[in-house]
Subunit: 165 residues, 6 copies
């Protein structure tokens, strides 16, 4: 198993894996997630009546900031110098759902999938926090990786899973 | 809207709401989430061949630690002195799915829903991190609050949503 | 001197002072600051053309989040459970200046002046960061405490220093 | 506006800007600030009677440590591997004022102005914290960038603003 | 075993233990440690020629700051609002050794042994960092708890282990 | 002294030293430490009866995570992008002692001795935390650097100090 689950050494002990020998390359990861809520909550958030500090832009910002904290949160993630983080949240067309998409870039020796997924997760939690006074039954997820490029393992695309935003 | 979305003042400006007047009470929150994966990945994690540092216990620990960081991550959350944090991850009975459940307690003036949801989210991301070398298509979610008690707003139960663990 | 600069013990050694014997009380601190910029930069920020993620609301949010990190940043500050943090940024009437005001509340054994001043400082730095591409000569300050209440030392008011916002 | 305030994308959404295409270069930033206080407070700090843990060296250290936390505090700042951070605090010649100067260096793809300004700001706040028991009316600021070199935008000098230290 | 190692539940799963039912009380912990070095390194540090920023006061400050971060570092520690943290470092009488002692106080539901031990450990590491250019063979330890009071388990004293400082 | 204790400038002021001119190289550091306890505590930890979340693997994980936080904790340490962190804890053969060893790698301009020593220290503290309910007299240390390679100062080996693990 150790040869497959790379975060464990030959004795089954967790480790932050050695990336010394990996090539520096341009790497990109895109993740997506959703948060579903009541129609009432949804219309409150998206009605556009809030000029400043609106729910969506706060959640986008929280997602960006969280991407930078990924290695503090995920035990075996490497600390990384991210080149770009973007989080976009858009209302779905015909459901009371917000779609969250993050894009993270780095020029480095390991990928940024976890940073992209963390950004989406914390953005979703931030929405939950601000809306929970009117809807505690919101559902976070599905959250998934939709694209990854760069690095030896090649590109990953989960295209049929990408929602238009 | 300001009277409903309490994180915004009368001008629509975000704020960390004033909890000075709220009663100190025993508060509990329970959240649940899932991460779905391929049968191959699932059997690797749950086969019990890894003695130390196994995926599930690392993810449980990461969830506990993340609960303590909630106010650093969610912009308008209050810093809180948590009394208890527990994260339990169990394999589902008949699907390649791990079910994650967190329980957070506090004696304080505001609830711990966000701490419980953050614990579940980071535990799920930690599983993703350790398993992504063999399955990048894992799905995180749905994540939801299943129980909340304490405080003026009374109990919240999402019972039909609770999975047996 | 040690009896006056309370952060130093009788040997002149820095310490986080013992607040065990201090009374729990409702405490409030209000701080104010300014950031001055070119007319060009000022009109860009305040023109209202940016719908989402505008400079002012991001800076307000950064100030709130920074208040929660005060004890990580200021070496001898006590970790505190803040009850409320609010940051308001308003354009001055007749100068290219943004006025930043924070209000922090706690029910505790020590005051929150540092949290209020930290919120203002980080909000100002966040504005600088977002505007520096068009104006590197911005001036941060003066930043000052304008009000403090609660605790044994009584109220402090710097009223003639308060700017209308 | 998006083309000018680079932290916002074409939709006015905040982002951590993509620095992938920027050149690696040696970059330096120098910032300066002041904190003004009563003559009584000033003479207490600068009288040299405190052997260990004196106010000035604690504030210098807090400034250095804060520079390393800049990307945690300023929402859209990139995480950076700083090569050098220095903070010098000196009493002004003929006023009860401390002058704070920071110098930050990096070999990287983006500048360190924010790190230099953050170091000065937190150093000033740390002085405030330690002296506030005897003077709550201290004034922090003006704080400004005095020099920047490296990177495509070329050198910036605010020479007439530099105080001799 | 679960009934003894309280950080594990009945299934052997790690948890942050529930302290809801524990009494609030005044609690104190004192820890001590040593760092041994070459006579050359020792005389450099203790010669008193460094006016500002000397090794000992920086290490004391680092220890104080680390005590506040304990719950971020030790996975199952509760976040706590410390009432006092003091770190004293003194040269031993007749060996090239620095003795480090911390005192931490809280009024709370759980003890502060870990905060005291963390303060000593980080203070020792900070000394190592500043002196390693002239001595890489320094030895950190023994580090131990010397006193604990408050709480149901009663007082703990390791008196014969306390070094005079 | 300033020419020897490099963390101080010519005025004796603490600084994060300038590493701009240092060569990028592969650097490795290995540190070791011990924690001694009662035979009773030792047998509880090493008896292998705890399936999940056992003391040793939690402490290993805490050590790995702490290595990533080193520059937050040690005031003059540079922030670094670590390539590898591994922590191994093994019971000693004939004493009630756990031996902790960390290995840290980087490709960078400064060494990772402090990261290795911090990993060992926090791992030891984590063991103390989980075992203190049954033994408060545990002793942490000696902790020391056993190997360092890379960089201009050449290799350092403390071979006779290395314990077999």
């Amino acid at each position: 198993m150790a040869d497959i689950l790379t975060h464990f050494d030959e004795d089954g002990r967790a480790q932050m894996v050695d990336i010394s020998a990996k090539q520096q390359s341009q790497r990109v990861a895109i993740a997506q997630g959703r948060i579903s809520m009541s129609g009432d909550a949804f219309s409150k958030i998206t009605s556009g009546r809030v000029k400043k500090g609106d729910v969506i832009s706060i959640a986008e910002l929280a997602g960006i900031m969280a991407a930078k904290r990924t290695s503090d949160l995920i035990p075996l993630c490497h600390p990384l110098m991210l080149n770009k983080v973007q989080v976009k949240i858009t209302p779905a067309q015909d459901e009371p759902v917000l779609i969250i998409q993050s894009t993270v870039k780095i020029s480095g020796q390991t990928g940024v999938e976890m940073e992209a997924l963390t950004a989406v997760s914390i953005a979703a939690l931030t929405i939950y926090d601000m809306v929970k006074a009117i809807d505690k039954s919101m559902i976070i997820g599905p959250i998934k990786l939709v694209h990854k490029s760069g690095g030896k393992s090649g590109d990953f695309n989960n295209d049929d899973e990408i929602e238009a935003i």
